[in-house]
Symmetry: C2
Amino acid sequence: MATLRDVAALAGVSVKTVSNVVNGFEFIRDSTRERVNNAIAELGYKPNLVARNLRAGRTGVIGLAVPELKFSYFAELADAVLEAARRRGYVVLIEQTGGERSSEIELLHGSRISMMDGLLFSPLGLSSDDGRELEVDYPVVLLGERIFNGPTDHVTMQNVEGAAMAVRHLLTSGRKRIAVLGAHEGEIIGSASLRLDGYRAALEQAGVPFDPSLVVHRQGWHRTDGAEAMQELIRREIPFDAVFALNDELALGALRTLFHSGISVPKDVAVVGFDNVTEAQFAMPSLTTIDPNRAKIAETAVDALLERIAGRGKPDEPGPRIFEVPATLVPRESASAGIRSAVA
Amino acid sequence: MATLRDVAALAGVSVKTVSNVVNGFEFIRDSTRERVNNAIAELGYKPNLVARNLRAGRTGVIGLAVPELKFSYFAELADAVLEAARRRGYVVLIEQTGGERSSEIELLHGSRISMMDGLLFSPLGLSSDDGRELEVDYPVVLLGERIFNGPTDHVTMQNVEGAAMAVRHLLTSGRKRIAVLGAHEGEIIGSASLRLDGYRAALEQAGVPFDPSLVVHRQGWHRTDGAEAMQELIRREIPFDAVFALNDELALGALRTLFHSGISVPKDVAVVGFDNVTEAQFAMPSLTTIDPNRAKIAETAVDALLERIAGRGKPDEPGPRIFEVPATLVPRESASAGIRSAVA
DNA sequence: CATCGTGAGTACAACGTTGCAAAATAGAGG
DNA sequence: CCTCTATTTTGCAACGTTGTACTCACGATG
């Protein structure tokens, strides 16, 4: 690998002059610049970013910590973050935590971090008691649910309002017995409870009584969980005409069970999910869902992080900020009023 | 950020001694070690990896270049690569190329690379003429289709044999008129043509004549393409009793069209895909497909890359190697012999 | 003609770390 | 008490880059 030194020797100038050429410094004689550029081309010189970063004290790298990339939601989030970061000249190091508290803590306090200017962190294992774990000496922006009183910026989707939108959509089309799939027992903070809050709020607002027997608890939020939760609901043999699944994967699993049970969607039962993953659009029937606006979340988070990185140590650093990105309802077949559309 | 220097000052020893403690050097008096460790704890010292990497000439980072993370196949591949790299003490920087030739070339020759010890590269825009673009001075391992005579190691799935397995599976269940979705006109290298080769080989082996009117060409390989290709096939009004979609997304799109057209799968038409993405398992009916064994591909690729990194400059470097990871057939509902199973 | 300003180029040090080789210390043996 | 060896500690340089401050040459200015 050619270095500045090699180029300088070949061009017959000082190392610093080559550096100046590379960095587009203004006051360089054209003849010199040409000589240097020729030498650069001849040697195939590329600046060594590691050295540059050491010198500069910043790396141009941000970390993104997610539970698992293979879940659509995180893959699509990562896609959006990569793109947002790229547009701002940053590159992204992705870490999978597996959603485990210990991995998350290890990452937060480990030395890996020293390669990054900041961290976008989508915690899953950490609980609201763990706010102190987030007291680190580099910028962190949380993605996802709010850790109570955390010391960091936080970008969240409209969990409560989004869920309420979903439920209002169902109520508007005349559904009254709306089941919920995937609730978490005893949880206070987290998507599950927030979305359940939205559900209850929408019911209350519409004067529909809350019926606990319509709530199916389920710890996991994958498709199999959705399928099983739906089976459980059917076994209860209580009437219901709609299902609000707390995320799309649950909803997709539920669709599968409904299909196998000969229950028509949306004629007999309307289904709404949450997240608007790509598959939702292609499900059969296509899934009505809440779009949390991932691209916007990613951009907001990256911007917040870069602001923190730029403002490091400045005296006027603001306290923790919370950004709530508006969600939107995406009406599709699974909760349409009645007649099924012909083709996607 | 505390540095070795700060720790050394606090502990009253030299910088090098602290470094020795940090690196687990053997000959250190217990009392000294303890003093140093206390200082480290007090200051919260973390080694600066950028500096360490500069010194060491390697970074512990490998790059992974994929077209787009939001496509399930690449998300799951990235997941597997991250995991394989993690287990070997490496961390992964992901770059999205969008599948564009220019982005791919820019990445290969840009300075970003100097942050990485090597690159796992899943090319899409590069063609077989571009072998020279891969002549770079750092280790590269290709993932995916073979670029003819490329100078780098290459890990590929069993495209030909996998496709043949899929088709044999259909033939075995008595299907004779097997359509193909997603062929690429005039392509010589690439998944499309390789899988088509496997299709033709299996037909030939079984003595079934090849009928070009059963082949639907389609450049894109997403679900919408599959849905459209299927519509086109139906419009042709030629008899067919099975569909081999060149990837799962196409197959999932096709399922949707078949469903809307009132054609029963697998009773009227059997469907097989390729890739075994997560959704395949949850489709309705669940999708019979070829599993290319992503975890194995990722491990093989990471191992090959790390070997190259370790063996850099050694005299006995082997030439380009090709690894073909065995694929397996995953039989599910969409191509079962007849009766549909009750539940997933 | 001395002074000044400006453009062009350079030397040095530093970012934080570790390999190398040398130095200091301790204990053992005479 | 001195020598010798083994253990423990250290100083220096270097990885490749760039900020700071400096020098030098040149023509313009008074």
